[in-house]
């Protein structure tokens, strides 16, 4: 029986834990504390929690100020609303290399019924284009907790962590050790490599099972660390298999797929297909309905692999 858990829940718990160990950690939110789960930190450490109200630009620059004065801020809101503060991230956080951790939740279609205005499908693209910004997309609760622990102690600049609303299957066990800048090889394979992030990782594993029944051996790589990306792992996968499929809960433009394509095109060109949202907005629906309608399924990953065999 697979455990399912939401990465935002793991975030809230991890934040509370590191908050107890590191007094410099402060948390900011923009009126979404219940949903982002920063309320857990807030009720335990009220003097170190700053409710900023519905003012994301104010939140990001305030976090920058806190970081400049020796604090280690974690700022949260929904991914789409936080993105209005992109220029603030660029000009006040990244340019000054300040240790601001932007842990934004409710990314992707799995936001569900709230509809297209709330479904961030471009955030990986705009974050990875920022110099100095580390970009993490945890695949499950275990990885989320480890990334947050990592950020609590690795304070060398800004970071973006993409979290989700929905419960997702756990793909790691207790032995897992997150390593920043390193691809997480979940499954070996020689005919193709599926490089996925976030909710698509468990689907990639399911797709590999289906392919195996037809004698196609597909590797599965969880690329949680989108920036800095593990280019060596991508090149190795290309050289070993000659076929790469990427999968993400994000526009095919600019996200993980594009990042992988950049490495392949320059260093190890091979057959490639990107599974993701095909440059459209989402809409209202249940999380599962939306993933299905917009092609974010294990079946689609299977077809993509078959399409380049």
């Amino acid at each position: 029986m697979t455990v399912t858990a939401a990465t935002r829940d793991a975030y809230g718990a991890a934040l509370e834990e590191i908050g107890g160990r590191y007094p410099e950690i402060v948390v900011l939110d923009a009126d979404l504390s219940e949903s982002t789960r920063t309320y857990k930190f807030a009720r335990k450490y009220p003097d170190r929690f700053f409710q900023m109200g519905i003012s994301e630009q104010d939140m990001v620059c305030t976090a920058a100020g806190l970081a400049s004065a020796g604090k280690a801020p974690f700022a949260s809101t929904f991914a789409i609303f936080g993105s209005r503060a992109w220029e603030q991230m660029r000009n006040m956080v990244c340019r000054a290399n300040l240790n601001v951790n932007l842990c934004f939740s409710h990314a992707g279609l799995t936001v569900g019924e709230d509809g297209s205005s709330a479904q961030a499908l471009e955030d990986i693209a705009i974050m990875r284009a920022l110099p100095r910004m580390r970009v993490f997309v945890p695949a499950d609760d275990i990885e989320t907790a480890q990334i947050i622990q990592h950020l609590a102690t690795h304070r060398d600049g800004p970071a973006y962590v993409r979290l989700g609303r929905a419960k997702v299957p756990r793909v790691h066990d207790e032995k897992f050790k997150f390593r920043a800048g390193h691809a997480d090889a979940l499954r070996e394979g020689k005919d193709a490599a599926i490089i996925a992030c976030g909710v698509m990782v468990s689907m990639a594993l399911d797709a590999a099972d289906i392919l195996a029944k037809d004698g196609v051996s597909a590797a599965v790589i969880n690329m949680a660390c989108i920036k800095p990306i593990d280019a060596d792992a991508i090149v190795a996968a290309s050289r070993k298999t000659g076929r790469i499929v990427t999968a993400e809960e994000h526009n095919v433009i600019g996200g993980l797929g594009s990042a992988v394509a950049e490495v392949l095109a320059e260093h190890a060109p091979c057959k490639m297909k990107r599974v993701g949202v095909q440059d459209t907005f989402g809409e209202s629906g249940t999380s599962d309905e939306l993933l299905r309608k917009y092609g974010l399924t294990k079946e689609n990953i299977v077809s993509a692999v078959r399409g380049i065999m």
Partner: protein
């Protein structure tokens, strides 16, 4: 750093700072002299009379902070920082040049004494609030001074930050509005009228003081009152003249973002070297 409170001495420093602004922008071939000239007495007051800091230790954790949110006015800040000892005065002539420690807009990684990387308007007050919040948590008594432009208050984020400061009782924040009435495309009232600006800040629950921004006595009194005001932040609305100090620059929008020509520099040097007042 020894404080200077004698107004005659400070007026002389202000005169030299104005020359620095013109010389550095002229050497660079670009820059923002108008909005730098309007802020001279204010910045001189802060660094010579008001703030505690240490040029030997620019990141001294207990220092007062100055956030030049209108970061394009960095020529005035750079001049003052060089004069109080953060870096050699000669650096001013390398302003905006490739590899210079003095960037076109403030850069806290490159310039000793600069507390925030600004340049895109509307961000400095939020940043200053964040610094003040850190001071609160740490029970420190440093103060945070944020200088805003009057065109800048057209940015929405300024008002987000304006709501934050009183909400968190940040009486260690003192904003200063360099109200020179001009922006790039003209006077504020032609572009997007900001009046009644003092009333707006009062409505946002700030303690509001209004001064002649070129009168040291008034500036000192306002800074004293800001320091003494508990429970809410203060904003000093400083009525200033863009391009102040050179007759043909005063109240002219065109000098927002261009340096003087060679001929204009000759005239300007004469005026500043032999001030009428």
């Amino acid at each position: 750093m020894e404080r200077i409170t004698d107004i005659t001495q400070l007026k002389e420093i202000a005169r030299q700072v104005r020359l620095d602004i013109l010389e550095s922008t002229f050497a660079a071939g670009s820059g923002h002299p108008g909005g730098s000239m309007s802020a001279v007495e204010l910045v001189v007051s802060l660094y010579y009379r008001e703030m505690k800091y240490n040029p030997e230790e620019p990141r001294w954790p207990d220092r007062d902070r100055f956030i030049l949110s209108k970061g394009h006015a960095c020529p005035v800040l750079y001049s003052v920082l060089s004069r109080v000892g953060f870096f050699p005065h000669e650096e001013l002539l390398r302003f905006r040049k490739l590899g210079s420690i003095l960037q076109g807009h403030t850069d806290m990684l490159k310039t000793p004494g600069v507390d925030a990387s600004a340049g895109s308007l509307g961000m400095g007050l939020s940043f200053g609030n964040g610094v003040a919040m850190a001071g609160r948590i740490d029970n420190k008594d440093y103060r945070v001074y944020v200088m805003l432009g009057d065109g800048e208050v057209q940015e929405g984020e300024i008002w987000e930050a304006a709501m934050t400061a009183p909400h968190y009782n940040l009486d260690n924040v003192c904003a200063i509005l360099d109200h020179n009435e001009l922006q790039i495309d003209g006077f504020n009232y032609d572009v997007k009228d900001i009046e009644p600006i003092a009333d707006k800040w009062r409505a946002f629950c700030w303690n509001v003081l209004e001064v002649n921004g070129h009168d040291f006595g008034q500036i000192f009194a306002a800074l004293d009152e800001a320091r003494a005001t508990k429970g809410r932040p203060t904003i000093i609305v400083a009525h200033t003249v863009k391009g102040r100090g050179v007759s043909f620059m005063e109240r002219v929008a065109g000098f927002h973002g261009r340096c003087l020509t060679k001929d204009e520099m000759e005239l300007a040097r004469k005026e500043l070297e032999f001030p009428l007042m």
